[in-house]
Symmetry: C2
Subunit: 219 residues, 2 copies
DNA sequence: ATATTTTTAGACAGACTTGTCCAAATCGTC
DNA sequence: GACGATTTGGACAAGTCTGTCTAAAAATAT
């Protein structure tokens, strides 16, 4: 029995590898061309796989969309909570640490390939397949907001912030962080880290002017 | 010669009426189905017009998209500047007037049919027809931001606000106003006026906590 | 080395679109 | 009522796409 000889895995290794490669290619094509414009031959070619294999794995085109959305949603959710774990719970320099956190959030979640894909596909097909995205709707942003709100509430309790409604504050934090990026993201531009840092800096400065406890002397 | 007997107009009245009805129907269908999924027969039916008439007026499908985007962009731009004219230049109760302004902005521009259409179509096709939306990119948001920034700068000069960079403040104002609406808008829900008012209230409160000069006593 | 499963390439029918063409019908004007 | 322009409905070719089927090839397990 050699090293990689676990039957259950070795049998399905290429199988699941192809599965992944199909989902990745499908995500890319769906995102680029939209659901109606997406071509299964193109997806197969881009995945390095024959068309029949795509049908073997996921059956329908609609079914493929479901699988893709499920996959990307999971991946993105994992990224979000991984990043949320780096929230500055015991800050030394709150402003700098919030800026760094915002940059991480944008780089790892909102502005990467998965984030762009979900945003685009949700807006395009959300109303056509409501049941598909209903899960995301509450498992995605709602949980993110709640988790972020809890972090801000703790900071407020520890005397760093002065917040009436942590949920509103969390939503506004995210809105401010994205304020300067909306335009670029809509057009699918890739954002330089410098842009992300600038946007985060502006956002955190305003956020702390509104919610920070240690008011700066207004010269 | 009767009243409405200007030949140039009466001849083209039904003509241009059909033109408009086609563009409206096309906007609706493009928005619902995406460009690739949009069906010219459906557009014609929804416009109450034969397919041939659609081709007579706009030629290509791509050409039709161009016409639709141009029309909607113009209409939206007009709405934005109309609403910008109601900005509280000489406020009595700044907070209340900014809330009312924000509600107007959302109702007349960002959240109506045209706003939703442009957002959706831009995200879906923006990268495929960059030249089409390049104009909008600077004529739309950039001009809006600049105009709004000028208003805020004037309020700051008059002693109502304390703003370092009016451009950033304007973008952040709009971002805050949309903070609570993102989710609903992505799914195409229609927003009640109550929701709009609540969102605007939250936004303006935070905005004024950050930029208002008369700091509230922090009990 | 052989048996079993997966993958492949290609053909295929069925359906759907786009864009054009044309003769008949409709509309507004004189 | 007759004329000219626009509109209509339907037919049409050419193309694309989905989803299925088949037999051959490749990969994997025994």
């Amino acid at each position: 029995m050699t090293l990689a000889d676990t039957p259950d895995i070795s049998v399905h290794r290429s199988h699941s590898a192809k599965r992944h490669s199909i989902i990745d290619a499908a995500a890319s094509v769906f995102c680029r061309e939209g659901f109606a414009g997406a071509n299964i031959d193109l997806i197969a070619a881009e995945a390095g796989v024959s068309r029949q294999t795509v049908y073997n794995h996921h059956g329908d085109k609609e079914n493929l969309l479901v699988a893709v959305v499920r996959e990307i949603t999971e991946r993105m959710s994992a990224g979000v909570f991984e990043t949320l774990a780096t929230f500055p719970d015991k800050p030394v320099d709150l402003e700098a640490e919030l800026v760094a956190f915002a940059v991480r959030l944008n780089q790892n979640c909102m502005c990467n390939r998965d984030g762009k894909f979900l945003r685009k596909l949700l807006q395009a097909e959300g109303s056509r397949y409501p049941e598909l995205f209903a899960g995301w709707r509450e498992h995605g942003p709602a949980k993110t907001w709640a988790a972020l709100a809890a972090r801000f509430a703790r900071l407020a309790h520890a005397g760093w912030l002065e917040i009436d409604d942590p949920d509103v504050a969390a939503r506004q934090f995210l809105a401010l962080v994205n304020a300067d990026l909306q335009m670029a993201m809509i057009f699918g531009d890739t954002l330089s880290e410098e842009q992300l840092r600038q946007a985060a800096t502006n956002a955190v400065r305003t956020f702390l002017r509104a919610f920070g406890k240690a008011r700066r002397n207004t010269t």
